[in-house]
């Protein structure tokens, strides 16, 4: 009896606590429910249905959309492969380039701001503008800068190449744009991290006879390791959200071999009215990103534990 009364009292206290907190958390809760939870649940529902956009009719079709996406055409697998390739090619180069340039800029006595602005400019430039510049660079005939240089100026090639209409040169242009556009962001993050390393560490290492390479390897790399992880996770997630450059540079051509998941999703929804398949693609992308993040997290946490042993 006494125990029951105690539980009741605790419940009442808990409820009172919740009620006093409610006005503060409710606005956030409503926003999360409306803009995150509801769209997420609705996406899952659409992915399992035939959705007609005008009438709003939703007819359940089970896993048919997933079956169509995964097994009916090659496009999904090209897109999936291309997203992984984008991550594999661009992420190491962005990290490596960002780290090297941040190290160089950090060691500059003068003109740091100039280089910081220079490297960061591509980051704040519109994707659309940059895509148009890349489209011009990789354009056909002598109207494209690369074709003009290779064929007309240096005579390295005999014929013009439709760079954006070939599987690997098209993908190459997409990767190059991603690297150029994101390296400045990585550089700035690394620079902030580098500026947090005590100078005494480098001084002691110099006294101990360490050269530039050893100082970079044992002090700089060790200190920025958590930052490398942060940049890597962000870039890998970003690699699965590639969209604008694919839409503006190649449109997935030729025959979907340069497409990526987000472009495929957009194409299925807006060109083909297949909102169920588009939702299925979106959910597969989301699951892939979550799994990748967990794997990366575990790998790095294990590494940290090992360091702590």
């Amino acid at each position: 009896m006494k125990r029951m009364l105690l539980t009741k009292k605790r419940l009442k206290k808990g409820l009172k606590g919740w009620l006093s907190a409610l006005p503060f958390i409710l606005p956030g809760l409503i926003l999360v429910s409306v803009f995150i939870l509801y769209p997420m649940i609705f996406t899952i529902q659409i992915s399992l249905s035939d959705y007609r956009i005008v009438t709003g009719e939703i007819t359940p079709v089970g896993l048919l959309n997933y079956k169509n996406v995964l097994f009916e055409t090659k496009e999904f697998w090209y897109a999936y492969r291309n997203n992984f390739l984008y991550a594999i090619v661009t992420v190491p180069l962005i990290i490596f380039g960002g780290l090297i340039f941040s190290y160089l800029v950090n060691n500059l006595k003068k003109g740091q701001t100039f280089f910081k602005v220079g490297f960061y400019l591509p980051v704040i430039t519109s994707w659309v503008i940059v895509s148009l510049v890349f489209k011009y660079m990789f354009g056909n005939s002598n109207t494209g800068m690369i074709n003009y240089l290779l064929v007309d100026v240096f005579h390295i090639l005999d014929d013009y190449v439709p760079w954006l209409y070939r599987q690997w040169t098209g993908n190459g242009a997409i990767w190059l744009m991603g690297i150029w556009k994101n390296m400045g962001w990585a550089m700035l993050i690394f620079l902030a991290s580098l500026q947090g390393i005590p100078k005494e560490l480098y001084e002691s290492a110099s006294i101990d006879g360490a050269g530039i390479w050893n100082k970079f390897r044992y002090i700089t790399i060790s200190a920025v390791k958590p930052t490398i992880y942060f940049v890597m996770v962000n870039m890998i997630i970003g690699a699965f959200n590639v969209f604008i450059q694919v839409m503006l540079l190649t449109s997935g051509n030729p025959n979907g071999t340069t497409t990526v998941l987000q472009y495929l999703l957009y194409n299925r929804a807006f060109s083909k009215f297949e909102f169920g398949e588009a939702s299925a693609i979106g959910l597969i992308s989301a699951v892939t990103i979550v799994v990748l993040t967990i794997i990366l997290n575990r790998t790095f946490l294990l590494d940290q534990n090992r360091n702590g042993e």
């Binding site: 006093s20 956009i53 109207t143 439709p162 209409y165 030729p254 009215f273």
Partner: protein
């Protein structure tokens, strides 16, 4: 506690009151209607629309105000799809003929043949453009403007490079003259339907049966295989180039100093030297592809009758003649022989070419059909796939998309 709850309730009530109050901000006097018209006209077309056409409308319909909204052409289709879901779309819109069936299939367009005067009205339109509005027995729009591809020829190059002083009447003559040149004389931009269908049809290819219900036996017929082989042959002989496959110059840039001829709509870039001509015949056959736009009333419109009235007005003789001045070919039978059309060297060519122009497959699965075609052509021209095998596979895939 009580104070914070009351404060929170007040904030919520104020928010919803504000939202409710903003719902009906458009005040109109009794009987007055405002409708929205979406279009993708260019600068010159919009100028005529706003300065010539709309004053005519306003004078005839003072109680119906039309908000004309120019949309970005590259994302227009996506904007319309989004508007279907949000309900914030136009009342009436100018849409590409290739999208009418798919919008109708989604339930986004009003069947206009339900209006009493439709039968009389539809009899005044040219058959081809009108047919682009037909889907499952109903007409979901009115033809607004039409066009097709005709030959665009550089007269100087025709003479200096091919030794011809007049545009040849047959493709055979043109090919013979171009064979010894050693560089590309004919250009096409890509391998899509709008680009390659005229050549495919010209050289004898067939897409489907007349009812557009079956591709097998047509797309993979010997005539179609021969047609594609002819194009491959011209490509190998350096007579015919596909920009996206070969990396060659764009048609309008190349026609200035490189290409002798390409097929294009009545857009721009014509001069005394760059002239329009009907496409030279091959084995006595001419061919072209029909383009153009329809005007459709959206099911989300609250003023469907007013929107239909505006659509009818846009297809009237005076509006069609006004829009012709900026290159919008008319869709009225009564204007085919009109002096404004016949006396213009460019419009008369295109109106003549329309007689042998064919429509693309009218289907709600138009996008899938386009993809099947362009994928097959990419396989053949880029990856050198076997023509018969590729067309067999394409015909089977196309069958699945046809009703």
């Amino acid at each position: 506690m009580k104070k914070s709850l009351t404060l929170f309730a007040l904030v919520v009530i104020s928010f919803f009151t504000f939202v409710a109050c903003t719902q009906n901000t458009e005040l109109t006097s009794e009987g007055d209607i405002t409708i929205t018209f979406w279009h993708t006209y260019g600068d010159s077309e919009e100028e005529v629309l706003l300065n010539t056409v709309m004053p005519l409308w306003n004078a005839a319909h003072p109680n119906i105000t039309v908000n004309t909204v120019r949309q970005d052409g590259s994302q227009y289709h996506e904007m319309i799809v989004t508007s279907f879901a949000t309900g914030n779309g136009p009342d009436v819109a100018r849409i590409d003929i290739s999208n009418t069936a798919s919008y109708a299939n989604q339930g986004g367009l009003v069947a206009l043949n339900t209006f009493a005067d439709f039968a009389t009205l539809s009899a005044t339109y040219l058959e081809g453009p009108l047919s682009t509005n037909l889907f499952k027995g109903n007409y979901y729009g009115l033809p607004l403007d039409t066009n097709c591809k005709a030959a665009v020829v550089n007269m100087d190059l025709l003479e200096s490079e091919l030794g011809l002083t007049t545009i040849p009447a047959t493709m055979e003559e043109f090919i013979t003259a171009a064979a010894s040149r050693g560089s590309y004389s004919i250009n096409v931009s890509g391998v899509g339907d709008w680009d390659l269908y005229p050549y495919f049809w010209l050289f004898g290819g067939v897409l489907t049966n007349d009812a557009f219900t079956q591709a097998t036996g047509y797309l993979n017929s010997q005539d179609s295989i021969d047609s594609i082989n002819k194009l491959l042959d011209l490509h190998t002989q350096n007579i015919f180039t596909i920009r996206d496959i070969d990396g060659t110059a764009d048609a309008w840039a190349g026609i200035q100093d490189t290409y002798v001829m390409f097929f294009e709509g009545p857009w721009y870039g014509f001069s005394d030297n760059i002239v329009a001509s009907t496409i030279p015949t091959y084995e006595g056959r001419s061919a072209s592809v029909v383009g153009g736009e329809d005007i459709a009333v959206f099911t989300t419109s609250e003023h469907q009758e007013a929107a239909y009235e505006f659509a009818k007005f846009m297809t009237s003789e005076e509006v069609q003649l006004a829009m012709l001045t900026v290159g919008q070919l008319p869709i009225l039978k009564s204007l085919v022989t009109n002096a404004a059309v016949v006396s213009n060297p460019k419009w008369s060519v295109y109106m003549q070419q329309l007689e042998s122009a064919m429509a693309r497959i009218p289907s709600p699965n138009n996008d899938e059909i386009k993809t099947i075609w362009s994928n097959a052509m990419t396989e053949i021209f880029l990856n050198h796939a076997d023509v018969a095998t590729t067309l067999n596979a394409a015909a089977t895939a196309m069958d699945a998309e046809l009703d």
